[in-house]
């Protein structure tokens, strides 16, 4: 049999459709299966006013089943046994005497007649519907009544041609659906077979894919925006795109502001020419069947004009006070109650940028207060250049938070500041650094392009993260109200993708919890974004992670060498060495191997080979690169294998044993600066 369930609701928020449909599809399928009504596939569709589940091949009724019923014990009085038999509708001699695991009892099999699917579904569906998970629900029929995303106004529930009788919040399921609010009939009967067609006749396109096609068919080459397209598909039942225009004079406003107004305030697609400049054209998607008189287009054009006028009003008003004069006003803008104002944050960003610049020039520098204040003085007199741009941008980067335009379009923070800096005559590098210092905003966004922008972005994010950890606002599970995870991910990406050799670990003030948090995001980045194997990442990070550019180079080297036949076996041997050293509780003496104590043969040969490899690598490391070094290390494998075949480490003679451990220890230590090879999962290990 075929099931049609349509939950008719008042307008469901667009972002809630997908989740609700996922749930309903899965829940209906498993309810049918759990009720022994068959294994079926469900199909879901949604519009703003309906959540629809369909399924075919449902059994007409549940198969009959048998259940064992237990009665009195073997030694029970005859009357009790007779009573039990009577209750079960059997003569006493037909009872079986069986053990239930504890004692022998009289029992019988009872036949359970399968119930019709329609009855079972009438019980299941109302509960299932009300369990639909939504982030925020409401009640509408009075306190304590059913909750849903918006009021349910009708329900279609059909099993073939039969209505499944149930009620939710006073609404009885029936075979009557409802059409488009203005174009369709208020109420009309449907069957499983004609459902979609009847909807279509009443101006409802059930399939999201079909609605999307109608929007795409606009005939204007609008700027692709999959997120917006999805929203528009989800807020319309009969989408019809229209094309409107606006006055060219608005093009003197920045593209960023115009796009923001169109995209976020009006849900319009913008249109660009081949050079990427905006055309004075937009695409709006209506929820109706056309606009023959142009009234809708005219209305939308007027709204957009008002919006653009507003933006221009703000833009002009903001020019009355320069960014540099706005910095002091940041004392009135709270960043976070425990972390002070945006002026405090600005000061911290400025200092961090200075530190980053110094560390970038001199990676080993120890930065004390004296050095920082010296740098402050130095940069105070310096004009121009990358470093100056970063320091100047750090000073100005938050000043746009006091502007009208940013108050109106918060998503454009930074961007607006950059644009204002430019028109106010700041050097282009400064403007650019302010413009891009919130980047990367998401996984799809790229990091700031300019070095100054990267420094300011790093300082801003590092400050946020360190502040949150200090104030105890540490993300846990899915809770991360201050977007700390995203900030850390941003730091990692800027360092690696910007090729910035900065000592990130040293910048974390020795806060172990914060280091752990960073390590977690670093692992995530190299595994999920860059695609390195988890064991490679673990091996490399275990060696060192202060310099993430270096981490990446070491990872690439491991990835390159790994397929060679000697690498994994050697890694296995290194792990064996580590185990031996750990069991012997040997941590090295700092001494070199005593050659006179070495046994001829395998031990001596390993020693000689190790010396040779070590010296060669030490002399040629620069040219070899990590890949070359790893390749040379891998050549040790035959001698290592031979050593383990022939030589026993734990011998009686303490001096010889000590000497052997030293050999192994020195070798492990020498070669562990690229990666801790014992972290590499080898094939033989995986087979275990």
């Amino acid at each position: 049999m075929n099931l049609l369930l349509e939950i008719g609701s008042e307008e469901i928020p667009d972002s809630m459709l997908a989740g609700a449909l996922d749930y309903l599809g899965t829940a209906v399928a498993s309810a049918i299966k759990d009720s022994s009504l068959g294994v079926v596939e469900t199909f879901t569709d949604g519009t703003p006013r309906r959540l629809v589940v369909r399924a075919e091949g449902i059994l007409e009724r549940q198969p009959d089943a048998e259940e064992r019923v237990w009665g009195p014990a073997k030694n029970a009085p005859a009357a009790a046994i007779a009573g039990f038999a009577k209750k079960q509708g059997l003569p006493p001699e037909q009872l079986e005497l069986l053990s239930d695991g504890k004692a022998e009892k009289y029992s019988c099999l009872r036949r359970i007649e399968g119930r019709p699917a329609v009855d079972v579904l009438a019980e299941i569906l109302p509960k299932l519907i009300l369990k639909t998970p939504f982030p925020k629900t409401m009640y509408w029929a009075g306190k304590g009544t059913a909750r849903f995303i918006r009021p349910i106004r009708w329900i279609v529930a059909l099993l073939d041609d039969q209505v499944i009788p149930f009620e939710v919040a006073g609404v009885w399921a029936a075979n009557e659906s409802s059409g488009h609010r203005r174009l369709g009939a208020k109420s009309f009967a449907v069957t499983y077979d004609d459902y979609e067609q009847k909807l279509f006749q009443n101006y409802v396109i059930l399939s999201a894919e079909e609605r999307e096609k109608r929007i795409r068919a606009v005939g204007v080459n609008y700027k692709q925006d999959p997120g917006l397209l999805k929203v528009l598909v989800n807020i319309t039942e009969w989408p019809t795109p229209i094309v409107g225009t606006f006055d060219k004079e608005f093009l003197s406003l920045p593209k960023e502001v115009l796009s923001e107004v169109m995209r976020y305030h009006q849900k319009y697609f913008s249109v660009e020419n081949e050079a990427g400049d905006l055309e004075p054209v937009f695409v709006a998607v209506t929820n109706t069947d056309g606009d023959p008189e142009g009234l809708i287009r005219h209305g939308n054009e007027r709204v957009l004009r008002a919006r653009f006028n507003d933006a221009r009003f703000f833009w002009d008003a903001d020019q009355k006070k320069r960014l540099v004069d706005r910095v002091a006003d940041l004392a009135n803008v709270t960043y976070q109650a425990k972390l002070g104002t945006y002026l405090d944050k600005t000061e911290r960003i400025c200092e961090l940028v200075l530190i980053l610049i110094e560390l970038f020039k001199n990676p080993g520098a120890v930065l004390d207060e004296e050095l920082i204040s010296e740098a402050k003085v130095r940069y105070a007199f310096e004009q121009g250049g990358e470093d100056f741009a970063a320091i100047r941008a750090a000073r100005l980067c938050k000043a746009d938070l006091t502007t009208e335009l940013v108050k109106e379009f918060t998503d454009l923070q930074g961007v607006i500041g950059g644009l204002y800096a430019r028109v106010q005559g700041e050097p282009e590098e400064v403007a650019m650094a302010i413009y891009e210092h919130y980047r990367p905003v998401g996984v799809d966004d790229s990091i700031p392009e300019t070095r100054a922008g990267q420094f300011v972005a790093l300082a801003d994010k590092l400050d946020s993260v360190k502040g949150c950890f200090k104030a105890g606002m540490i993300p846990s599970g899915s809770k991360d109200p201050f977007a700390v995870r995203r900030a850390v991910q941003g730091v990692v990406r800027i360092l690696v993708e910007g090729g910035l050799r900065l000592p990130i670990q040293s910048l974390l003030d020795g806060n172990e919890q914060l280091e752990e948090f960073f390590l977690d995001r670093i692992r995530y980045y190299f595994r999920e974004t860059c695609g390195f194997e988890y064991d490679e990442v673990n091996a490399v990070l275990a060696a060192a992670w202060d310099d993430l550019v270096d981490v990446q180079q070491r990872l690439e080297a491991i990835q390159a060498v790994r397929p060679s036949e000697d690498f994994e076996p050697l890694a296995a041997s290194f792990r064996r060495i580590q185990n031996i050293l750990r069991q012997a509780q040997f941590e090295g003496t700092g001494a070199e191997v005593e050659e006179s104590l070495l046994e001829d043969g395998a031990e001596m040969e390993l020693h000689i080979e190790f010396e040779k490899v070590r010296n060669y690598i030490r002399e040629n490391a620069g040219e070899l690169g990590y890949t070359g070094v790893l390749a040379i290390i891998a050549t040790l494998r035959p001698k290592v294998d031979q050593f383990f075949d022939k030589v026993l480490v734990n011998v009686q003679n303490p001096a010889v044993r000590q000497n052997r451990l030293t050999l192994l220890h020195n070798m492990l230590e020498e070669f562990s600066s690229i990666a801790d090879f014992s972290e590499i999962v080898t094939t033989s290990q995986e087979m275990k």
């Binding site: 008042e10 319309t236 008002a306 009135n332």
Partner: protein, 302 residues
């Protein structure tokens, strides 16, 4: 009605429309408020189990939105037409669409969308879910199903329909600036309202004396608290002046908005001050429930 309705045509038509549908047509509340929701006709009437329907125009003051009469779309004081239907009838959206037809909008020729917009007023301890109603891309109405008012779960869920009268009229008259709206034949909105906009902007942004406003705030807050404490002690609760108490809450709310527009409230303070208003608003709501016998009290039981 005229082919192109004037501002007052629209007001009168909507009042008639909702009056015909069982609404008590109220006049604006006479204490300054930021929205029709703050009027006791909404704030207090939505509490408790008694059905109620009302509609009224509420001039709504938003000091921070003032633009000296220069901006074609932003006003210090705009007019809302507020409708409360408690409980919500199942055909509420059809009724609403009917009201648009009544003022001359042929919905067959326009694009109407209900887009998610949940409403919250933290200083009144009130929230609800609903939509902004978009007509050809213009937000013309806020539609909210109240869930809580004064921190109290509502017995009956009311629908609140709030029309932005200036926008709606500008749309119907096809003008770009609210000041060009025809209020009545031959009289523009500018002639009626420009002086308010200019003078209140000057006061709110430039001349309002911050220490005085704070003093007023504290005076009204103290009076509200004093009265609330008296209510708790009162032996004759039925005649107790809770409605005047609520006036003082509203005074605080408007003073807060004025201080805010004056830039006198930092973000941190903001939360704290909203909390202060909320406390007295919630206390009035609770006392009101008690006074009206919506919750059992010892006095009632005796």
């Amino acid at each position: 009605m005229n082919p192109v309705p004037t501002f007052q045509d629209i007001v009168l038509t909507l009042k008639k429309y909702w009056g015909d549908r069982g609404c008590i047509i109220q006049e604006p509340f006479d204490v300054e408020v930021g929205a029709g929701t703050s009027s006791p006709e909404t704030f207090l009437r939505t509490l408790g189990p008694k059905p109620y329907r009302t509609a009224y125009v509420q001039p709504s003051r938003r000091p921070a939105d003032g633009r000296y009469g220069d901006n074609p779309n932003r006003l210090y004081k705009h007019m809302q037409l507020q409708v409360i239907l408690k409980p919500t009838p199942a055909d509420v959206i059809d009724l609403y669409m009917g009201s648009l037809e009544a003022i001359g909008i042929d919905l067959r020729k326009h694009d109407l969308k209900l887009e998610e917009d949940n409403w919250e007023n933290p200083s009144l301890g009130a929230w609800g879910v609903g939509w902004q109603v978009m007509l050809d891309g213009l937000e013309i109405t806020q539609f909210t199903y109240f869930q809580q008012v004064g921190g109290i779960d509502l017995d009956l869920v009311p629908a609140e329909i709030t029309y932005g009268l200036e926008r709606l009229t500008a749309f119907l008259q096809g003008v770009d600036s609210v000041y060009d709206i025809e209020w009545t034949t031959g009289v523009k909105y500018r002639e009626v309202r420009y002086n308010d906009e200019l003078q209140y902007s000057v006061y709110n942004f430039e001349l309002a004396d911050v220490p005085t406003l704070w003093k007023l705030f504290e005076t009204h807050e103290a009076e509200a608290k004093r009265l609330l404490a008296l209510y708790a002690e009162s032996k004759s609760k039925r005649r107790f002046p809770l409605l005047p108490t609520y006036d003082h809450v509203l005074k605080c709310s408007n003073l807060f908005n004025t201080l805010d527009s004056r830039g006198a409230i930092s973000v941190t303070e903001r939360v704290a001050v909203i909390g202060r208003i909320r406390r007295i608003a919630v206390a009035v709501a609770e006392s009101w429930m008690d006074q009206q016998g919506f919750t059992a009290t010892e006095e009632e039981a005796a």
